[in-house]
């Protein structure tokens, strides 16, 4: 295939459309993580929560034939894992960086264990969340296929950006979350329930990570494999830093990564002469570069990773 074909309009539309679709798991996970970090808790178990969410969503979709029940299962398992992380880091004040790694390892092992004993082999489903063409809008040339022929979970992921912005900056709850993450002692003095807010954000972060996993297994790929997230959960945590702990910034970060992913997939399809291994490396190298460029530019929540003890 020569270069003129690679740059044809259909291919560009294909890359952009795939890029939008691939952003959804990053968005769900990173926005959930953003709320946790804004309240002062660093949850590094996102990867494990995503894997568990992906498995349960897939399994229940296969069992019931209804992707909504699959999504519900992902929400429940995400909530359970998020709550466990909350208890460990809030009540037991465990070192957050390491306890998160524990949940990551647990999620990797547990999802593989369940996959091998309940499903046994890789299956592909066709009853996940399939693409929905939005009337009229989807017929617009170029823009239609890019933005308005996506699956439901992609629409939800992008809808989440303004919603989370509104919650974080325009509601009392958002103010409390930010206060708890910046200065828990001051917030406590003013009667904010520090632990309660953190339980809420970390549990919800788990739910979002579970949904992120579901968006992989029952919307984007329609398949479950062991360790299928391949570091996406950690990239999502990096995106929170990159996005400067703001919903819009997180969204641009997610889009940057998903576009690189889409480009890499197309490069593999078109047999560009770069070995595929180097193409797969791209998002990970990009993460490191992005972290170098962003950290220090924006300041994170002051009380991040610090357990709160009332004196």
């Amino acid at each position: 295939m020569d270069s003129s074909q690679i740059l044809s309009v259909t291919v560009i539309v294909g890359i952009l459309s795939a890029g939008i679709r691939l952003a959804s798991p990053y968005l769900f996970a990173a926005i959930g993580e953003m709320f946790g970090q804004r309240s002062g808790v660093l949850n590094l178990g996102v990867e494990g929560q995503m894997l568990m969410g992906a498995f349960f969503a897939f399994y229940y979709t296969v069992q019931t034939g209804n992707p909504w029940l699959g999504l519900l299962a992902a929400v429940i398992v995400g909530a359970v894992m998020g709550f466990a992380m909350a208890v460990v880091s809030i009540r037991w004040r465990a070192v957050q960086g390491i306890s998160g790694i524990g949940f990551f390892i647990f999620g990797v092992g547990m999802s593989e264990l369940l996959f091998k004993s309940l499903l046994g082999e890789v299956k592909i489903i066709n009853n996940g969340f399939n693409p929905i063409n939005i009337p009229f809008l989807s017929n617009i040339p170029f823009l239609g296929p890019i933005f308005f022929q996506q699956n439901l979970m992609t629409y939800m992921a992008f809808l989440l950006v303004p919603i989370s912005w509104f919650i974080l900056y325009k509601t009392t709850l958002g103010l409390k979350i930010r206060a708890v993450g910046e200065n828990p002692h001051a917030a406590d003095t003013l009667g904010v329930n520090v632990a309660g807010i953190r339980y809420l954000t970390v549990t919800m972060g788990g739910v979002m990570s579970g949904i992120a996993g579901a968006s992989l297994s029952i919307a984007n790929l329609n398949v479950f494999q062991e360790n299928m997230t391949a570091g996406m959960g950690f990239i999502a945590v990096a995106l929170v830093y990159f996005g400067g702990w703001r919903p819009l910034g997180v969204m641009f970060g997610a889009l940057l990564f998903s576009m690189v992913m889409a480009l890499q997939l197309f490069m593999q399809v078109f047999n560009v002469t770069i070995p595929p291994e180097f193409a797969i490396m791209l998002p990970y190298i990009l993460t490191i570069v992005v972290l170098v460029l962003t950290v220090g530019r924006v300041r994170g929540p002051s009380a991040l990773t610090e357990p709160f003890v009332r004196e």
Binding site: R93, A94, V95, I101, F106, F234, Y241, P275, L291
Partner: protein, 379 residues
């Protein structure tokens, strides 16, 4: 009498048993999972135990599994002492093994020269892969947990590319299966076996010697003192004239070096070629992650890592026999390891509370009342 009992219960030595209690909690949790899955936990755990300790060969396999875990755990101890969380042992092990293997395949020198050089090269390869996130943390304030995870993924792709391409065994390149593995190292370069029919190799001696050496470095040298000081209080260390950034790089560098050496030993002592199965953990068998679990379980103490690595080696070997006997996939042990980490770090709060109780006990026993009241007021 009551005082005496109190002293025993509050003694620092009891703290050493907290990881054991945490592991017990993880095992109970695992038993619940097994019950839900319809397997008798006692049967499963017995299969694990027999698989790990049942006969001489099982015991040897347990030790063979423990060698890379011990080396990696030693590295993790160094990093964690400086409050640097190194999740990158997987990648560091891969890079160390890749470079050491490439060296062994390229040269044609006598074994007594090649083996120590290959070990050093593996050490340096891991050091390089660890120093990069170390420098990024020290000079650009990049979160080392994220950068090391990314470095893992990059190393895995590098390995998949090299083992499936430039470094692939010429025989495999023409074969149908095209297994991603290198050619076999010349038999002159193999690490000696300690009990010939079994797979027990000299890597055990290297790992044990290094455990003592790392203990000595951490607790009895200036370097170790600086690393620990940075971990305890970077601001005070800086005030005291320690170059904090440099210590962070050194800690991650040494940590990576240990993992790199583990990779080289895995190749030169066990498989005699570098081999993977296409999955990210195909070469390491998750030793990089399990090494973290081992280090935490050993209380982040180099000597504690010795029994801890034996324990987790047993767990891994036992998992395989459990899979054969009870059809419970060996991934069960990965889940169990995750829970061990969670429980071990959660148990730290008990240590903190006991420390406080101890302080209060000594304060209340003090003869002069006035300063005692002040001190307990502060606590």
């Amino acid at each position: 009498m009551k005082d005496y009992l109190n002293r025993i219960i509050l003694s620092k030595r009891v703290d050493g048993f907290l990881p054991l209690l945490a592991a017990l909690a993880a095992f109970i949790f695992g038993a619940i999972i097994l019950l839900i899955m319809g397997t008798n936990p006692l049967t499963a755990y017995r299969a694990m135990f027999n698989g790990a300790f049942g006969n001489q060969n099982a015991l040897v396999e347990t030790i063979v599994k423990a060698i890379p875990l011990l080396l990696i755990a030693l590295g993790i101890c160094i990093a964690f002492r400086a409050k640097v969380t190194n999740i990158g042992a997987e990648g560091q092990m891969i890079v160390g093994a890749l470079i050491a293997t490439a060296f062994g395949l390229a040269v044609n020198w006598p074994g007594w020269l090649v083996i120590p050089m290959a070990m050093s090269i593996g050490f340096l390869g891991g050091a390089l892969w660890g120093a990069i996130p170390g420098a990024l943390k020290a000079y650009f304030n990049v979160n080392e947990i994220l950068s090391t995870v990314m470095m893992n993924a990059i190393a895995v792709q590098l390995m998949n590319y090299l083992l499936g391409g430039p470094m692939m065994d010429p025989q495999q390149a023409t074969a149908l299966g095209k297994l991603p593995e290198t050619a076999r190292l010349s038999s002159a370069y193999h690490l000696p076996r300690l009990m010939p029919p079994t797979r027990l190799h000299a890597g055990l001696i290297i790992a044990l010697v290094l455990a003592v050496l790392v203990y000595f470095i951490i607790f009895h040298t200036t370097l170790g003192y600086r690393i620990r000081a940075v971990g305890l209080n970077p601001f005070a260390s800086r005030y005291g004239g320690i170059r904090v950034r440099r210590q962070i790089v050194i800690a991650l560098l040494l940590s990576g070096a240990m993992a790199g050496l583990a990779g080289a030993i895995q190749v030169y002592g066990l498989n005699y070629r570098m081999i993977t199965d296409g999955s990210p953990t195909g070469f390491t068998a998750s030793a990089g992650y399990n090494g973290i679990v081992t280090a935490l379980f050993g209380g982040l103490h180099p000597l504690g890592a010795i029994p801890a690595s034996f324990f987790f080696g047993a767990l891994l070997v036992g998992a395989n026999s459990m899979q054969r006997m009870t059809q419970v996939p060996s991934a069960f042990v990965t889940a169990l390891n995750g829970m061990v980490v969670v429980f071990v770090v959660s148990a730290a709060i008990w240590r903190e509370l006991r420390e406080r109780k101890r302080r209060l006990a000594t304060v209340s026993a003090a003869p002069v009342p006035t300063p005692a009241v002040q001190e307990s007021g502060q606590a």
